[in-house]
Subunit: 397 residues, 2 copies
């Protein structure tokens, strides 16, 4: 919680202003502000935006810092799940070290808030959770990390996993995760009863991976919405991916979207190019809170990705065919304010009273900054400078 | 046409080797080659690949070097066509200057061969063609440029355009272009009769933009295939985009693909995330020659893009859900050898006798180089060093 004066920035592409941060929050925005003893950074006319928010990633999965892993595995989710468990053992990946590398790289790109799903399974128990929790403590004050206890390997098909999730929530995980209730556990009712049962027991929210497409995903989504309503969990449930909302039957998708909005279920998208995806403008028009995430990168799941949420805004724009400047700004808002709202961090905007998370971007306009992402000149978290020139100041292990 | 010895590279990810280029062609690949007086470049163990090939772009469209252009126009192709004509006038864009900027940027990324569609219309006549032809002359020996005379504004709906295309071909354009025979001219037979008539008259090949989706695009494609067969133009016709091949009816798409292969029609894809696209692995399995292109960037059509064909290989991989290393290498081949084959430039590979177009990439493996593109250390065209550290050596205007 520190003080900082950023001189000569262009907040959200507006006219040049100073931004004054006091005790970690934005105190004033305007011309020629008095630093009152705060350290001064010269933005040199750069764009200023709030901290980027990665609302869906996996801090425990990347192989950053390890030799390239040759991917020659099959194309199913189960191929990836089984291979990942093997690779984690073979490479003896340390969840704390890997999550530090991932989180610090993200921070260098301007991400000041992360929701990470973390694998909980009968192979490694709570080891990944403990490693990521250690990273959260190590990076406190630099990036905020939310942890979802995530049954990546299945819940009912691996007896003992429900008990581990229970222990994870007792040990400090912030949310209960879930995964493709039909496709992985082959028992959607059973899967969701455990997930929502744990949420009720611990009084914690839910965030469920839903890759299932078309009618199958719509069915699982209906089961999620029924439980959200029955347990009065409005505003406490998120669905990640939600590929089924990209289904060809747009009337069916619209009806589901309407119900999602009414039950205040959040949708988190990574906007992949290969899959049907929720149309973000349709979700927003219906009043749904939408955030975005990078998902994992350089892991068993995908060779692609850098961890940069500004690049994600670009990919989200490409996937949703956003070309107008106002629409590129919308993509950027999903990667800042949208993700923060989905994580119950309100007022994640550049305005007095808001958190002092500020990122300086290159570019004439916000649209240009999104269309052609360049390294960030400066990243401040609650008024503390934590990144410069695309890199976190803190060294990664 | 020069000599060059590249020491200690890893051709296509293989073991460290030297590459010797003599009189512009690869003379030998192996350990400890004798330079015989050729200048020496140390690759320091980097990956070596053939020159990247941008088989579909628009050198005359970008606004590189101009202030950001605020896009607030409608979403149709006709909105973009009409706006572009207006913006070109308002900004007085010089086709030679703009194409130099675009081509040199591409060259810095390692592109040694480009097929550019160039607008021919009743507003500007052959001015864009002349500007790009001037760029071709200026950059001879650094990057090879093919020019398609392209009726961007429509052919039959703007009387006089056919005559301009005729003049463009007489003046040195290499190919006849065409565009959405149903959607723009509203007269598919008339449009294609003019395009193929000009091709026959001038003995030049054809490359047609086909954005039309589903059955409409399939119909236009059938008309193209009929004319290809009737005029015995096997190997002389390319279809760019071919979104209709991404249609839901996969049996119909497969039948069209089979006929495309039989008639040796080439398919050029930009693999956009927002549209249905041809599945590149299906095309290759059917024996179709497939190339890739970046399309335009920073223009009225799109705010996105950098001109980097290695980034295009990444986007092509993301769009086609290519995750295995072998599949990422395939994406890279489409952006080198595939595009060259589509442009009748055979043997665009790292092997003795092939052109001395060599690019050095960062990364442990080719897959890594595609998944996370980094600046190119060195670009050689026919043995001449033309780019270093991501930039062309020649200055842009």
């Amino acid at each position: 919680m520190t003080d900082l004066l950023i001189r000569n920035a262009r907040p959200m592409g507006g006219p040049p202003s100073d931004l004054l941060i006091r005790a970690g929050r934005i105190a004033a925005i305007g011309p020629d502000l008095d630093p009152g003893g705060a350290p001064i950074e010269d933005a040199a006319g750069r764009l200023a935006i709030p901290g980027l928010v990665d609302a869906h990633t996996h801090l425990d999965k990347s192989m950053l810092g390890h030799p390239w892993w040759r991917n020659d595995i099959g194309p199913t989710i189960m191929d990836r799940i089984e291979t990942e468990r093997r690779v984690k053992r073979e490479r003896a990946l340390d969840p704390h070290v890997q999550s530090m590398r991932h989180a610090l790289r993200s921070l260098g790109f301007g991400t000041t808030r992360i929701r990470s799903h973390v694998d909980v399974d009968t192979d490694q128990g709570l080891a990944a959770l403990e490693g990521v929790a250690e990273t959260r403590r190590a990076l406190a004050g630099q990036v905020e990390i939310e942890i979802v206890a995530f049954p990546q390997s299945g819940l009912l098909i691996r007896p003992g996993t429900a008990e581990l999730l229970d222990a994870a929530l007792a040990a400090g995980a912030d949310l209960v995760g879930g995964l493709d209730p039909c496709a992985i556990d082959r028992d959607p009712k059973g899967h969701l009863d455990v997930v929502f049962g744990l949420a009720e027991k611990h009084g914690k929210p839910v965030d469920i991976h839903l890759h299932e497409r078309g009618e199958l995903g719509a069915f699982s989504l209906e089961l999620i919405l029924e439980r959200t309503e029955a347990l009065s969990m409005q505003g406490r449930v998120a669905v990640s991916h939600a590929f089924c909302l990209g289904m060809p039957d747009r009337a069916r998708a619209a009806a589901l979207t309407e119900r999602i909005a009414a039950l205040e279920v959040r949708v988190l998208t990574t906007a992949p190019a290969f899959a049907p995806v929720p149309a973000v403008k349709e979700l927003l028009a219906a009043g749904v809170v939408v955030g975005a995430g990078n998902d994992g990168f350089r892991d068993v799941w995908t060779p692609y990705g850098t961890g940069d949420m500004l690049e994600r805004a670009m990919l989200l724009g490409l996937r949703n065919d956003l070309r107008r400047d106002a629409d590129l700004e919308l993509a950027l808002r999903l990667c800042t304010e949208g993700g923060a709202a989905a994580m119950d961090a309100p007022r994640h905007r550049l305005e007095p009273g808001a958190p002092g998370d500020v990122v300086l971007l290159e570019g004439e306009t916000l649209a240009e900054a999104v269309a052609v992402p360049a390294p960030r000149a400066l990243v401040a978290k609650a008024g503390r400078v934590v990144g410069r020139d695309g890199r976190a100041l803190a060294p990664a292990p």
